[in-house]
Symmetry: D2
Subunit: 156 residues, 4 copies
């Protein structure tokens, strides 16, 4: 089972590791935060499916149950941001513990989103490609580049 081969990095919250830079081949602007290339979305689906199977929990994991679970996790993310006013990129001033908490809650959203898509038989990685292609058609860079006004107008 593939998940055995993964090792969680010692530092999850890390945008500047040499490993990340190598993985991304320098195509990004210097210092831009990047993700690890593994696990991919299908890996996450498979690991979560095994987790659910082992516990005999598929009986509870109907689509609407998973949707409500995802709503619950989004609520937990919101609670981490609710009293802070505007928050800048990279979360300056957040403690390591707060960052770790956020990493857990964002992960929970992704885990339930992936399982919801699975139960709905939506091939999520491919669906994202299609949606991104639609977004490119809907908001052509040449037309929407720039001002907030244009942004608001285009984002219906």
């Amino acid at each position: 089972y593939k998940s055995q081969h993964y090792k969680a990095h010692s530092v999850v919250l890390n945008g500047t590791s040499s490993q990340s830079k190598l993985q991304n081949g320098g195509a990004e602007r210097p210092g831009r935060f990047t993700f690890s290339s593994e696990p991919n979305v299908e890996d996450i689906r498979r690991m979560q499916a095994q987790f659910t199977d082992e516990r005999d929990w598929n009986q509870f994991h109907q689509p609407r149950n998973l949707l409500l679970a995802m709503v619950g996790e989004v609520g937990e993310v919101a609670e981490l941001f609710q009293w802070r006013g505007d928050v800048a990129e990279g979360l300056p001033g957040w403690t390591e513990s707060e960052r770790e908490h956020l990493a857990h809650e964002l992960s929970d959203v992704l885990i339930y989103l992936v399982e919801l898509a699975e139960k709905c038989h939506v091939d999520l990685p491919q669906a994202v490609l299609r949606k991104m292609a639609l977004n490119r058609l809907k908001y052509p860079a040449s037309k929407v580049h720039g001002s907030a006004k244009k942004y608001t107008e285009y984002k219906d």
Copy 2:
């Protein structure tokens, strides 16, 4: 730029293609729905980052703005399920158009989740691995296997 090499499959909503079976090497139970292996989460991050850069939209994509955008997309998923009562795996009785609509809204949730994690400098794929490891410790299969009662007790 890697995204040019992806081609959206002609059928996004598809759990039984021979390609999927081959990709997963028969390790799953027969006919189980699987995702495509690409794009991975980092690919999605990079494509969305390029999309945002091209439009000069980073000025609008602070963490809390992206969080509210994700809440909006979760709301759109909820609207697709709200009047249906219980929904079974595979969405029997949904039209192709309804499935496509759902695929779009689930994709929007993922796109904003990925961009939110990026702006928070959370390495989402690795964070998921860590959270899954914690879930395995929290809900040992031997203890929680089986009844809804046990499930409810162990959850939170």
Copy 3:
């Protein structure tokens, strides 16, 4: 301060008290669950405003902060329903403790909704009247009465 005059009923979760029937003058179908007439929405606004003032918390209660707090509370409601499958009116099978928990979470949603409307200068009770009038125009009873099909067509 008016809130001193309110007394919480000994039983909050109660659809059949003779008091409720009297309050509603028999206009409803027999046994239909009704609310108490107090506190009204303005009372709730005033009590919460005093609560916030006493703690010097207005500095944290900008509209977007309150919106995220409301999202968090909606998430907590979702967590109470997430693993249950379909739930019938009156919540048969729920314990008193679960009902009380739900009453608390629904209250939190209302409290933040009211404070959000206040900070946005939206007269919420009057706004509801106007929205209900619009809904009556949008979904005429004569046209939408009956089938789920018609319901789905007319909704959105």
Copy 4:
């Protein structure tokens, strides 16, 4: 039926009308935004119950359906705030049309919240009183008055 007696004010979004001041008897600080005293929460419940009855829609309005509908409406509120950065009290710079849109979406959240509480047999106005009493015990004004640090520590 009582709802016939209500008239929507010509200006819903209005914090400074002499009428509002009179309704509230001068107990608030001068110019503080207040709500109208009607309709109360029970009025809203009754009007929405009649609306649902007339359309034979109770068959669709199970608790979880109403919860998902409320999630959808919260998502629509989020969409109105998502690209704005921090928003100050009173929504300076918002157009009348944007304010009206917000009033509609906040109303939709309240309408579904009220109907959800009704179907769950939670006496929402009384439940709010009890929750507010608990909040007063949990966050004593003398202890939490003042700094953001104390606020964060005391919240959850």
